[in-house]
Symmetry: C2
Subunit: 248 residues, 2 copies
């Protein structure tokens, strides 16, 4: 065990935890009992040393020669991710994207509870989305305080995003997930994460325009290749077929 106290988890590690969690959830549901770092790495699209280093930050979970107990590791990761705590969430902005998120299953299982939907459009206020009524944005800060909202999701146009962030902060919200293409200015105690669909497209376009700058994944595992999933292979068993029906 490295530094059990005053530990500082690298952000890249934190970002990979949800991926490990998802893989483990699937493995658990199909009854897999243990998994090695190499297999987990493979399923998560990273390498084995990274998996081991990541997990080592939280203590010693694995058994040499065997690997990790899937259910135990899953529980540890979920606890680290705070999934055992109730986390009230609001969505501000109920255009197409806000609508889509409000109905998504992304809140399930992570301890997230959608407690409020807000918009400033009178035509949208009052609408019922997935069982929750849309309120006017003037009620935002008040409800955030009353419900002790932990996370605010911003899906308004860029021009309104800072204003909404200010209201969330006024309501005591300390974490914001921002889908608007704008840089938010918030107090240091407030965490912001930014999801920018259009920026991601532009990054893909950059690499298409500059094929010579693409970093090759799978950095040539010498000869033999004792591990590493190749294109086309799959782990446990790709839950084949299934419907192509669109995401909620």
């Amino acid at each position: 065990m490295p530094e059990r106290f005053g530990r500082r988890i690298p952000e890249p590690t934190v970002v990979r935890l949800p991926v490990y969690q998802r893989v483990l959830l699937e493995l658990s549901s199909i009854g897999v009992a243990t998994i090695s770092s190499a297999e987990l790495a493979d399923a998560a699209g990273v390498n084995a040393a990274k998996v081991r280093k990541d997990l080592s930050h939280f203590g010693t979970y694995g058994t040499p020669g065997t690997g990790y107990d899937v259910d135990y590791l899953l529980g540890q990761i979920q606890r680290e991710l705070g999934a055992d705590q109730e986390r009230p969430v609001v969505i501000v902005g109920l255009g197409h994207l806000g609508h889509a998120l409000a109905r998504s299953q992304g809140f399930a299982g992570g301890g997230f509870r959608l407690v409020g939907l807000f918009d400033n459009d009178e035509a949208t206020v009052g609408e019922l989305i997935g069982g929750t009524k849309v309120r006017h944005i003037s009620e935002l800060a008040g409800l955030c305080q009353a419900e002790k909202v932990a996370i605010g999701i911003i899906t308004v146009p860029a021009v309104a995003a800072q204003e909404v962030a200010d209201q969330l902060v006024a309501g005591g919200v300390s974490a914001i997930l921002n889908f608007a293409p704008a840089v938010l200015s918030v107090p240091p105690a407030v965490q912001v994460r930014h999801v920018d669909f259009s920026a991601e497209l532009q990054v893909l376009a950059f690499y298409q325009a500059h094929p010579e700058t693409v970093a090759t994944r799978a950095p040539a595992p010498a000869a033999g290749r004792p591990n590493g999933r190749q294109y086309g292979e799959s782990l446990p068993a790709r839950s084949g077929a299934g419907s192509n029906g669109a995401v909620s």
Copy 2:
């Protein structure tokens, strides 16, 4: 100029380019002619040295004592991002999220042209979304080849994502933006970027559950603080008020 040929651009730099581009676009539209690295950094939420280092990878654009010419720099960045090339895009999966993306303005201005929408649900096939008709997924690979599709956007459920990726690859698509919570396996020549809303929420939850591990942004600029926007300040002039209407 560093290495004009055989240059390798760090990925973090590439990811910041769209942010710079957006800031410059706004500055240009309000008539700002030049900007210093410190101001651009501030508006983009990074620090000045990073901005200068990032831009230096593409050549020498700035004037000592003055800064960068907004329109010229904007043009350079857009060219780097491949915005001057036509890039046909398809969306696969027209649930709520796919719908929202299909109608969004995220394609505008980046050289992206939406040339196809696909789903396997007979009730959705034939529907007209933003002027484009939804086709059956069986036509996917064929259309990708015919239209030389550059980027495929996956918004189907996780269980179907790999299958769709395979079809995109079969259709010759070399870049994929994946919104499904699944790790895709593709040939090395295909670039994949992953947008995972629910994972981002979990990362925020992690930091709320572990406040002691949060890296403090704005790493104490000693005394004096010669630069750096504080919470509440803003650059050129925050395009105040405006509607809160939700994102498309």
